[in-house]
Protein backbone atom coordinates (compact mmCIF):
# COMPACT_ATOMS: atom_id res chain seq x y z
CA UNK A 1 0.00 0.00 0.00
CA UNK A 2 2.74 2.55 0.74
CA UNK A 3 3.67 2.82 -2.92
CA UNK A 4 0.16 3.80 -3.93
CA UNK A 5 -0.60 6.25 -1.17
CA UNK A 6 -1.15 9.68 -2.62
CA UNK A 7 -1.15 12.06 0.30
CA UNK A 8 -1.06 15.79 0.48
CA UNK A 9 1.00 17.56 3.11
CA UNK A 10 -1.81 19.70 4.45
CA UNK A 11 -1.30 20.57 8.08
CA UNK A 12 -3.90 18.93 10.28
CA UNK A 13 -5.56 20.92 13.04
CA UNK A 14 -4.28 19.69 16.41
CA UNK A 15 -6.58 17.42 18.35
CA UNK A 16 -8.63 19.50 20.75
CA UNK A 17 -12.11 17.97 20.99
CA UNK A 18 -12.72 15.42 23.75
CA UNK A 19 -14.43 12.98 21.37
CA UNK A 20 -11.50 13.26 19.02
CA UNK A 21 -8.99 12.74 21.82
CA UNK A 22 -10.79 9.61 23.02
CA UNK A 23 -11.04 8.32 19.48
CA UNK A 24 -7.32 8.94 19.01
CA UNK A 25 -6.53 6.75 22.01
CA UNK A 26 -8.69 3.90 20.73
CA UNK A 27 -7.40 4.17 17.16
CA UNK A 28 -3.79 4.48 18.28
CA UNK A 29 -4.08 1.31 20.36
CA UNK A 30 -5.76 -0.52 17.51
CA UNK A 31 -3.13 0.50 14.98
CA UNK A 32 -0.35 -0.44 17.42
CA UNK A 33 -1.93 -3.86 17.96
CA UNK A 34 -1.78 -4.40 14.21
CA UNK A 35 1.79 -3.24 13.69
CA UNK A 36 4.51 -5.76 13.05
CA UNK A 37 6.07 -6.99 16.28
CA UNK A 38 9.41 -7.02 14.48
CA UNK A 39 9.49 -3.22 14.06
CA UNK A 40 11.10 -1.12 16.77
CA UNK A 41 9.97 2.28 15.47
CA UNK A 42 7.17 3.82 17.53
CA UNK A 43 3.97 5.24 16.10
CA UNK A 44 3.18 8.93 16.30
CA UNK A 45 -0.31 10.26 15.73
CA UNK A 46 0.69 12.26 12.66
CA UNK A 47 2.61 9.39 11.00
CA UNK A 48 1.27 8.10 7.71
CA UNK A 49 0.69 4.51 8.76
CA UNK A 50 0.74 3.15 5.19
CA UNK A 51 3.66 5.16 3.79
CA UNK A 52 5.77 4.34 6.85
CA UNK A 53 4.94 0.66 6.51
CA UNK A 54 3.47 0.28 9.98
CA UNK A 55 0.61 -1.74 8.53
CA UNK A 56 -0.07 -3.65 5.33
CA UNK A 57 -2.65 -2.87 2.70
CA UNK A 58 -5.18 -5.39 4.01
CA UNK A 59 -5.35 -3.21 7.11
CA UNK A 60 -7.34 -0.54 5.24
CA UNK A 61 -10.32 -2.90 5.06
CA UNK A 62 -10.00 -3.92 8.72
CA UNK A 63 -9.57 -0.31 9.79
CA UNK A 64 -12.78 0.82 8.12
CA UNK A 65 -14.72 -2.05 9.69
CA UNK A 66 -13.13 -1.32 13.08
CA UNK A 67 -14.04 2.36 12.96
CA UNK A 68 -17.64 1.73 11.96
CA UNK A 69 -18.12 -1.00 14.55
CA UNK A 70 -16.26 0.59 17.45
CA UNK A 71 -17.58 4.13 17.11
CA UNK A 72 -21.00 3.17 15.76
CA UNK A 73 -20.68 5.43 12.75
CA UNK A 74 -21.10 4.88 9.04
CA UNK A 75 -18.30 6.40 7.05
CA UNK A 76 -19.93 7.88 3.94
CA UNK A 77 -18.49 7.07 0.52
CA UNK A 78 -17.06 10.54 0.03
CA UNK A 79 -15.08 10.22 3.29
CA UNK A 80 -13.48 6.92 2.30
CA UNK A 81 -10.23 8.31 0.98
CA UNK A 82 -6.62 7.39 1.58
CA UNK A 83 -6.07 10.77 3.14
CA UNK A 84 -8.74 10.33 5.80
CA UNK A 85 -7.29 6.96 6.84
CA UNK A 86 -3.62 7.84 6.64
CA UNK A 87 -2.85 8.65 10.28
CA UNK A 88 -4.22 8.31 13.79
CA UNK A 89 -4.70 12.07 13.81
CA UNK A 90 -6.75 12.17 10.61
CA UNK A 91 -8.81 9.10 11.50
CA UNK A 92 -9.71 10.37 14.95
CA UNK A 93 -10.60 13.80 13.57
CA UNK A 94 -12.91 12.18 11.03
CA UNK A 95 -14.50 10.08 13.76
CA UNK A 96 -15.06 13.19 15.83
CA UNK A 97 -16.73 14.95 12.91
CA UNK A 98 -18.97 11.96 12.21
CA UNK A 99 -19.95 11.61 15.86
CA UNK A 100 -20.71 15.31 16.17
CA UNK A 101 -22.59 15.54 12.87
Amino acid sequence: MPNEAVMDVETVTPVEDDTVAKAATVVRNYVRSNMSALRDEDLHDEDNIFEKGFVTSIFAMQLLDFIETTFDVEVPDDRITLQNFSSVQRISRMVGELKNA
Binding site: S57, I58, Q62, D65, T69
Partner: protein, 386 residues
Protein backbone atom coordinates in the same frame (compact mmCIF):
# COMPACT_ATOMS: atom_id res chain seq x y z
CA UNK B 1 -23.09 -30.41 7.87
CA UNK B 2 -26.06 -28.57 9.29
CA UNK B 3 -29.04 -30.74 10.07
CA UNK B 4 -32.10 -30.30 7.91
CA UNK B 5 -34.00 -28.76 10.81
CA UNK B 6 -31.47 -25.91 10.72
CA UNK B 7 -32.28 -25.29 7.07
CA UNK B 8 -35.77 -23.78 7.26
CA UNK B 9 -35.66 -22.29 3.77
CA UNK B 10 -34.50 -25.61 2.37
CA UNK B 11 -31.65 -23.98 0.46
CA UNK B 12 -29.05 -26.45 1.70
CA UNK B 13 -31.21 -29.39 0.79
CA UNK B 14 -31.78 -27.88 -2.66
CA UNK B 15 -28.07 -27.30 -3.08
CA UNK B 16 -27.22 -30.90 -2.19
CA UNK B 17 -29.91 -32.16 -4.55
CA UNK B 18 -28.68 -29.88 -7.35
CA UNK B 19 -25.09 -30.96 -6.78
CA UNK B 20 -26.02 -34.63 -6.84
CA UNK B 21 -28.34 -34.52 -9.85
CA UNK B 22 -26.89 -31.78 -12.05
CA UNK B 23 -23.18 -31.63 -11.25
CA UNK B 24 -21.65 -34.78 -9.82
CA UNK B 25 -22.15 -36.94 -12.90
CA UNK B 26 -21.20 -34.16 -15.32
CA UNK B 27 -18.18 -32.62 -13.59
CA UNK B 28 -15.75 -34.85 -15.42
CA UNK B 29 -17.37 -33.97 -18.76
CA UNK B 30 -17.18 -30.22 -17.97
CA UNK B 31 -13.51 -30.69 -17.09
CA UNK B 32 -12.67 -32.54 -20.30
CA UNK B 33 -14.59 -30.12 -22.49
CA UNK B 34 -13.20 -27.11 -20.58
CA UNK B 35 -16.67 -25.63 -20.67
CA UNK B 36 -19.31 -25.01 -18.02
CA UNK B 37 -22.57 -25.16 -19.98
CA UNK B 38 -24.97 -22.26 -19.90
CA UNK B 39 -27.80 -24.50 -18.72
CA UNK B 40 -25.88 -25.19 -15.51
CA UNK B 41 -25.29 -21.50 -14.93
CA UNK B 42 -28.95 -20.80 -15.66
CA UNK B 43 -30.06 -23.40 -13.14
CA UNK B 44 -27.66 -22.00 -10.53
CA UNK B 45 -29.23 -18.59 -11.10
CA UNK B 46 -32.79 -19.92 -11.01
CA UNK B 47 -32.08 -21.61 -7.68
CA UNK B 48 -30.82 -18.30 -6.29
CA UNK B 49 -27.35 -19.68 -5.64
CA UNK B 50 -25.60 -16.89 -7.59
CA UNK B 51 -26.98 -14.37 -5.12
CA UNK B 52 -26.61 -16.64 -2.11
CA UNK B 53 -24.67 -14.21 0.08
CA UNK B 54 -26.33 -11.05 -1.24
CA UNK B 55 -28.97 -9.44 1.02
CA UNK B 56 -32.57 -10.12 0.08
CA UNK B 57 -33.23 -6.41 -0.54
CA UNK B 58 -30.87 -6.68 -3.52
CA UNK B 59 -32.40 -9.89 -4.83
CA UNK B 60 -30.18 -12.40 -3.04
CA UNK B 61 -30.90 -15.24 -0.65
CA UNK B 62 -29.34 -13.38 2.25
CA UNK B 63 -27.39 -16.38 3.53
CA UNK B 64 -25.04 -15.72 6.42
CA UNK B 65 -21.37 -16.76 6.08
CA UNK B 66 -21.93 -20.16 7.71
CA UNK B 67 -24.85 -20.94 5.44
CA UNK B 68 -22.96 -19.70 2.40
CA UNK B 69 -19.99 -21.85 3.39
CA UNK B 70 -22.13 -24.96 3.56
CA UNK B 71 -23.65 -24.17 0.17
CA UNK B 72 -20.15 -23.70 -1.25
CA UNK B 73 -19.09 -27.06 0.15
CA UNK B 74 -22.08 -28.84 -1.38
CA UNK B 75 -21.49 -27.35 -4.83
CA UNK B 76 -17.70 -27.64 -4.64
CA UNK B 77 -17.80 -31.27 -3.64
CA UNK B 78 -19.54 -32.08 -6.89
CA UNK B 79 -17.85 -29.70 -9.33
CA UNK B 80 -14.94 -27.33 -8.74
CA UNK B 81 -15.62 -25.20 -11.81
CA UNK B 82 -19.22 -24.60 -10.76
CA UNK B 83 -17.99 -23.73 -7.29
CA UNK B 84 -15.55 -21.32 -8.95
CA UNK B 85 -18.55 -19.47 -10.33
CA UNK B 86 -19.73 -18.92 -6.76
CA UNK B 87 -16.26 -17.78 -5.71
CA UNK B 88 -15.87 -15.32 -8.57
CA UNK B 89 -19.36 -14.06 -9.26
CA UNK B 90 -20.86 -14.16 -5.78
CA UNK B 91 -17.89 -13.71 -3.42
CA UNK B 92 -15.35 -11.66 -5.34
CA UNK B 93 -17.80 -9.43 -7.19
CA UNK B 94 -21.30 -9.34 -5.68
CA UNK B 95 -20.29 -9.42 -2.01
CA UNK B 96 -17.70 -6.74 -2.67
CA UNK B 97 -20.30 -4.48 -4.26
CA UNK B 98 -22.59 -5.04 -1.28
CA UNK B 99 -19.89 -3.64 1.00
CA UNK B 100 -18.04 -1.14 -1.11
CA UNK B 101 -20.23 0.16 -3.92
CA UNK B 102 -22.42 3.24 -3.82
CA UNK B 103 -26.18 2.78 -3.71
CA UNK B 104 -26.28 4.08 -7.26
CA UNK B 105 -23.97 1.30 -8.43
CA UNK B 106 -25.87 -1.29 -6.41
CA UNK B 107 -29.12 -0.24 -8.04
CA UNK B 108 -27.47 -0.38 -11.43
CA UNK B 109 -25.91 -3.83 -11.14
CA UNK B 110 -26.32 -5.70 -7.88
CA UNK B 111 -29.81 -7.14 -8.32
CA UNK B 112 -28.93 -8.28 -11.83
CA UNK B 113 -25.87 -10.05 -10.41
CA UNK B 114 -27.81 -11.59 -7.52
CA UNK B 115 -30.42 -12.98 -9.88
CA UNK B 116 -27.84 -14.15 -12.39
CA UNK B 117 -29.14 -11.85 -15.12
CA UNK B 118 -25.55 -10.69 -15.47
CA UNK B 119 -22.41 -12.67 -14.68
CA UNK B 120 -19.53 -10.87 -13.00
CA UNK B 121 -15.79 -11.52 -13.00
CA UNK B 122 -12.84 -10.15 -11.07
CA UNK B 123 -10.13 -8.60 -13.22
CA UNK B 124 -7.09 -7.99 -11.03
CA UNK B 125 -4.28 -10.30 -12.22
CA UNK B 126 -1.97 -9.45 -15.08
CA UNK B 127 0.92 -11.25 -16.73
CA UNK B 128 3.31 -9.31 -14.50
CA UNK B 129 1.05 -8.84 -11.48
CA UNK B 130 0.17 -12.04 -9.64
CA UNK B 131 1.06 -12.19 -5.96
CA UNK B 132 2.30 -8.61 -6.27
CA UNK B 133 -1.19 -7.52 -7.23
CA UNK B 134 -0.59 -3.88 -6.37
CA UNK B 135 1.84 -3.68 -9.28
CA UNK B 136 -0.87 -3.74 -11.95
CA UNK B 137 0.00 -1.76 -15.07
CA UNK B 138 -3.49 -1.42 -16.53
CA UNK B 139 -3.90 2.34 -16.51
CA UNK B 140 -6.77 4.77 -16.20
CA UNK B 141 -7.07 8.47 -16.77
CA UNK B 142 -9.86 10.94 -16.26
CA UNK B 143 -10.91 12.53 -19.53
CA UNK B 144 -13.98 14.50 -20.61
CA UNK B 145 -16.20 13.26 -17.80
CA UNK B 146 -15.26 9.58 -18.10
CA UNK B 147 -12.46 7.29 -17.02
CA UNK B 148 -10.44 5.80 -19.88
CA UNK B 149 -8.82 2.38 -19.35
CA UNK B 150 -5.90 0.84 -21.22
CA UNK B 151 -4.17 -2.43 -20.39
CA UNK B 152 -4.44 -6.17 -20.28
CA UNK B 153 -5.66 -8.64 -17.66
CA UNK B 154 -4.78 -12.34 -17.51
CA UNK B 155 -6.02 -15.49 -15.73
CA UNK B 156 -9.52 -14.03 -15.31
CA UNK B 157 -12.00 -16.80 -14.47
CA UNK B 158 -15.35 -16.47 -16.26
CA UNK B 159 -14.13 -13.55 -18.36
CA UNK B 160 -15.09 -15.70 -21.35
CA UNK B 161 -18.77 -15.31 -20.56
CA UNK B 162 -19.02 -12.49 -18.00
CA UNK B 163 -21.16 -9.44 -18.66
CA UNK B 164 -19.51 -7.24 -16.05
CA UNK B 165 -15.86 -6.92 -15.06
CA UNK B 166 -14.58 -5.56 -11.75
CA UNK B 167 -11.35 -4.04 -13.06
CA UNK B 168 -8.37 -2.65 -11.16
CA UNK B 169 -6.27 0.03 -12.79
CA UNK B 170 -3.69 2.57 -11.78
CA UNK B 171 -3.03 6.27 -12.32
CA UNK B 172 0.36 7.27 -10.99
CA UNK B 173 0.43 5.35 -7.69
CA UNK B 174 -3.31 5.36 -7.05
CA UNK B 175 -5.09 2.06 -7.78
CA UNK B 176 -8.84 2.36 -8.35
CA UNK B 177 -11.60 -0.11 -9.11
CA UNK B 178 -14.16 0.16 -11.90
CA UNK B 179 -17.13 -1.79 -13.19
CA UNK B 180 -16.81 -2.26 -16.93
CA UNK B 181 -19.53 -3.71 -19.11
CA UNK B 182 -18.46 -6.37 -21.58
CA UNK B 183 -19.90 -4.69 -24.65
CA UNK B 184 -18.05 -1.43 -24.07
CA UNK B 185 -16.03 -0.48 -27.18
CA UNK B 186 -12.36 -1.34 -26.74
CA UNK B 187 -12.94 -4.48 -24.65
CA UNK B 188 -11.61 -7.68 -26.20
CA UNK B 189 -11.68 -11.21 -24.79
CA UNK B 190 -9.18 -13.96 -25.59
CA UNK B 191 -10.18 -17.34 -24.08
CA UNK B 192 -7.44 -19.40 -22.38
CA UNK B 193 -7.24 -23.18 -22.26
CA UNK B 194 -4.97 -25.93 -20.98
CA UNK B 195 -5.28 -25.07 -17.29
CA UNK B 196 -4.43 -27.50 -14.48
CA UNK B 197 -7.75 -27.04 -12.71
CA UNK B 198 -10.98 -25.06 -12.88
CA UNK B 199 -10.83 -25.98 -16.54
CA UNK B 200 -14.47 -25.25 -17.19
CA UNK B 201 -14.32 -21.79 -15.61
CA UNK B 202 -14.18 -19.90 -18.92
CA UNK B 203 -10.79 -18.37 -18.14
CA UNK B 204 -9.68 -15.61 -20.48
CA UNK B 205 -7.47 -12.61 -21.02
CA UNK B 206 -9.12 -9.22 -21.33
CA UNK B 207 -7.62 -6.29 -23.18
CA UNK B 208 -8.77 -2.72 -22.70
CA UNK B 209 -7.99 -0.19 -25.41
CA UNK B 210 -9.25 3.30 -24.76
CA UNK B 211 -12.24 1.87 -22.89
CA UNK B 212 -14.49 4.66 -21.62
CA UNK B 213 -16.09 3.99 -18.23
CA UNK B 214 -18.78 6.25 -16.73
CA UNK B 215 -17.66 8.16 -13.65
CA UNK B 216 -20.38 6.52 -11.56
CA UNK B 217 -18.85 3.10 -12.27
CA UNK B 218 -15.94 3.87 -9.96
CA UNK B 219 -16.20 1.50 -6.97
CA UNK B 220 -15.48 3.20 -3.63
CA UNK B 221 -13.21 6.16 -4.28
CA UNK B 222 -10.05 7.08 -6.16
CA UNK B 223 -7.00 5.36 -4.70
CA UNK B 224 -8.97 2.86 -2.61
CA UNK B 225 -9.02 0.19 -5.28
CA UNK B 226 -6.38 -2.06 -3.83
CA UNK B 227 -6.41 -1.29 -0.12
CA UNK B 228 -10.17 -1.43 0.22
CA UNK B 229 -11.94 -2.91 -2.79
CA UNK B 230 -9.47 -5.64 -3.81
CA UNK B 231 -8.81 -6.63 -0.23
CA UNK B 232 -12.52 -6.83 0.51
CA UNK B 233 -12.97 -9.01 -2.55
CA UNK B 234 -10.02 -11.23 -1.70
CA UNK B 235 -11.28 -11.59 1.86
CA UNK B 236 -14.56 -12.98 0.56
CA UNK B 237 -12.74 -14.98 -2.09
CA UNK B 238 -10.46 -16.59 0.47
CA UNK B 239 -13.42 -17.59 2.57
CA UNK B 240 -14.94 -19.23 -0.47
CA UNK B 241 -11.68 -20.99 -1.33
CA UNK B 242 -11.36 -22.20 2.26
CA UNK B 243 -14.70 -23.98 1.88
CA UNK B 244 -13.66 -25.16 -1.58
CA UNK B 245 -10.74 -26.95 0.06
CA UNK B 246 -13.07 -28.65 2.51
CA UNK B 247 -15.34 -29.62 -0.38
CA UNK B 248 -12.60 -31.20 -2.47
CA UNK B 249 -11.00 -32.94 0.49
CA UNK B 250 -14.39 -34.35 1.57
CA UNK B 251 -14.99 -35.64 -1.95
CA UNK B 252 -11.55 -37.25 -1.99
CA UNK B 253 -12.12 -38.79 1.44
CA UNK B 254 -15.40 -40.35 0.34
CA UNK B 255 -13.80 -41.59 -2.88
CA UNK B 256 -10.90 -43.29 -1.14
CA UNK B 257 -13.07 -44.81 1.60
CA UNK B 258 -15.50 -46.30 -0.92
CA UNK B 259 -12.66 -47.64 -3.03
CA UNK B 260 -10.69 -49.10 -0.11
CA UNK B 261 -13.82 -50.83 1.17
CA UNK B 262 -14.21 -52.69 -2.14
CA UNK B 263 -10.80 -53.14 -3.71
CA UNK B 264 -9.20 -56.51 -2.97
CA UNK B 265 -5.45 -57.17 -3.15
CA UNK B 266 -3.49 -59.99 -1.56
CA UNK B 267 -6.85 -61.60 -0.85
CA UNK B 268 -8.12 -58.86 1.45
CA UNK B 269 -9.80 -55.50 1.05
CA UNK B 270 -7.11 -52.85 0.92
CA UNK B 271 -9.02 -50.92 3.60
CA UNK B 272 -7.91 -53.58 6.06
CA UNK B 273 -4.27 -52.61 5.47
CA UNK B 274 -3.05 -50.38 8.27
CA UNK B 275 -1.06 -48.10 5.96
CA UNK B 276 -4.23 -47.38 4.00
CA UNK B 277 -6.10 -46.83 7.25
CA UNK B 278 -3.44 -44.30 8.23
CA UNK B 279 -4.24 -42.23 5.15
CA UNK B 280 -7.96 -42.43 5.83
CA UNK B 281 -7.51 -41.51 9.49
CA UNK B 282 -5.42 -38.49 8.54
CA UNK B 283 -8.00 -37.42 5.97
CA UNK B 284 -10.90 -37.71 8.39
CA UNK B 285 -9.01 -35.63 10.95
CA UNK B 286 -7.83 -33.01 8.48
CA UNK B 287 -11.18 -32.52 6.81
CA UNK B 288 -12.89 -32.11 10.17
CA UNK B 289 -10.28 -29.62 11.36
CA UNK B 290 -10.48 -27.61 8.13
CA UNK B 291 -14.27 -27.44 8.30
CA UNK B 292 -14.10 -26.16 11.89
CA UNK B 293 -11.57 -23.48 10.92
CA UNK B 294 -13.93 -22.37 8.16
CA UNK B 295 -16.83 -22.25 10.57
CA UNK B 296 -14.75 -20.27 13.04
CA UNK B 297 -13.91 -17.74 10.33
CA UNK B 298 -17.58 -17.56 9.36
CA UNK B 299 -18.69 -16.94 12.93
CA UNK B 300 -16.09 -14.17 13.33
CA UNK B 301 -17.33 -12.57 10.11
CA UNK B 302 -20.87 -12.59 11.47
CA UNK B 303 -19.62 -10.90 14.64
CA UNK B 304 -17.66 -8.37 12.54
CA UNK B 305 -14.66 -9.35 14.62
CA UNK B 306 -11.30 -7.68 13.91
CA UNK B 307 -9.87 -11.21 13.74
CA UNK B 308 -12.18 -12.27 10.92
CA UNK B 309 -9.70 -11.41 8.16
CA UNK B 310 -6.72 -13.28 9.58
CA UNK B 311 -8.81 -16.25 10.68
CA UNK B 312 -10.17 -16.45 7.14
CA UNK B 313 -6.60 -16.49 5.84
CA UNK B 314 -5.76 -19.27 8.31
CA UNK B 315 -8.77 -21.30 7.18
CA UNK B 316 -7.86 -20.80 3.52
CA UNK B 317 -4.24 -21.77 4.10
CA UNK B 318 -5.09 -24.86 6.10
CA UNK B 319 -7.93 -26.18 3.99
CA UNK B 320 -6.06 -25.73 0.70
CA UNK B 321 -3.02 -27.46 2.21
CA UNK B 322 -4.96 -30.44 3.50
CA UNK B 323 -6.99 -30.65 0.28
CA UNK B 324 -3.72 -31.19 -1.56
CA UNK B 325 -2.64 -33.86 0.96
CA UNK B 326 -5.97 -35.67 1.05
CA UNK B 327 -6.42 -35.71 -2.73
CA UNK B 328 -2.85 -36.96 -3.12
CA UNK B 329 -3.67 -39.79 -0.74
CA UNK B 330 -6.86 -40.51 -2.65
CA UNK B 331 -4.84 -40.94 -5.84
CA UNK B 332 -2.49 -43.21 -3.89
CA UNK B 333 -5.29 -45.39 -2.55
CA UNK B 334 -6.85 -45.74 -5.99
CA UNK B 335 -3.48 -46.58 -7.53
CA UNK B 336 -3.66 -46.92 -11.30
CA UNK B 337 -7.32 -45.97 -11.27
CA UNK B 338 -6.36 -42.87 -9.32
CA UNK B 339 -4.29 -41.75 -12.28
CA UNK B 340 -7.09 -42.31 -14.79
CA UNK B 341 -9.71 -39.76 -15.69
CA UNK B 342 -12.47 -42.34 -15.51
CA UNK B 343 -12.24 -41.97 -11.73
CA UNK B 344 -12.58 -38.65 -9.87
CA UNK B 345 -9.35 -38.79 -7.85
CA UNK B 346 -7.02 -37.30 -10.48
CA UNK B 347 -9.40 -34.40 -11.14
CA UNK B 348 -9.74 -33.69 -7.43
CA UNK B 349 -5.95 -33.78 -7.13
CA UNK B 350 -5.58 -31.17 -9.89
CA UNK B 351 -8.35 -28.99 -8.50
CA UNK B 352 -6.83 -29.05 -5.02
CA UNK B 353 -3.46 -27.80 -6.24
CA UNK B 354 -5.08 -24.71 -7.72
CA UNK B 355 -6.42 -23.72 -4.30
CA UNK B 356 -2.87 -23.29 -2.98
CA UNK B 357 -2.30 -20.60 -5.61
CA UNK B 358 -5.46 -18.59 -6.16
CA UNK B 359 -6.72 -15.82 -3.86
CA UNK B 360 -3.24 -15.50 -2.37
CA UNK B 361 -0.67 -18.27 -2.50
CA UNK B 362 0.00 -20.41 0.54
CA UNK B 363 3.33 -18.61 0.88
CA UNK B 364 1.60 -15.23 1.12
CA UNK B 365 -0.82 -16.65 3.66
CA UNK B 366 2.12 -17.93 5.69
CA UNK B 367 3.68 -14.45 5.75
CA UNK B 368 0.45 -12.88 7.00
CA UNK B 369 -0.18 -15.64 9.52
CA UNK B 370 3.38 -15.40 10.87
CA UNK B 371 3.00 -11.64 11.22
CA UNK B 372 -0.23 -12.24 13.13
CA UNK B 373 1.58 -14.77 15.31
CA UNK B 374 4.25 -12.24 16.28
CA UNK B 375 1.63 -9.63 17.15
CA UNK B 376 -0.46 -12.01 19.18
CA UNK B 377 2.11 -14.15 20.91
CA UNK B 378 5.43 -12.33 21.12
CA UNK B 379 4.28 -10.29 24.10
CA UNK B 380 2.72 -13.27 25.84
CA UNK B 381 6.00 -15.14 25.73
CA UNK B 382 8.28 -12.24 26.56
CA UNK B 383 9.31 -13.67 29.94
CA UNK B 384 10.31 -17.02 28.53
CA UNK B 385 13.67 -18.27 29.72
CA UNK B 386 14.28 -15.47 32.20
Amino acid sequence: MLEEKEDPSGVQQRARHFAATELAERASEFDRQEYLPKDVIRKMADAGFLGAAVPEKWGGLGLDPLEYGELTESIGKACASTRALLTVHTSLVAETLVERASNQLKEKYLTDLALGRRIGCFALSEAGAGSDAASVTTAYRSEKGVFVLDGRKKWISFAGIADLFLVFAKENDATSAFLVERDTPGVEIQPMSGMLGNRAAHMAEISFTGVEVPVENLVSSIGMGFGLVANTALHHGRYSIAWAGVAIAQAALETMCAYAAERVQFGVKIGSQQLVQKMIADAVTQVGAARELCRRAGRLQMERSPDAAIETNIAKYFSSTIAQQVTSDAVQVLGGNGCWDQYPAERLFREAKVLEIIEGTSQLQQLMIADHGFKKFAGAGSGWGK
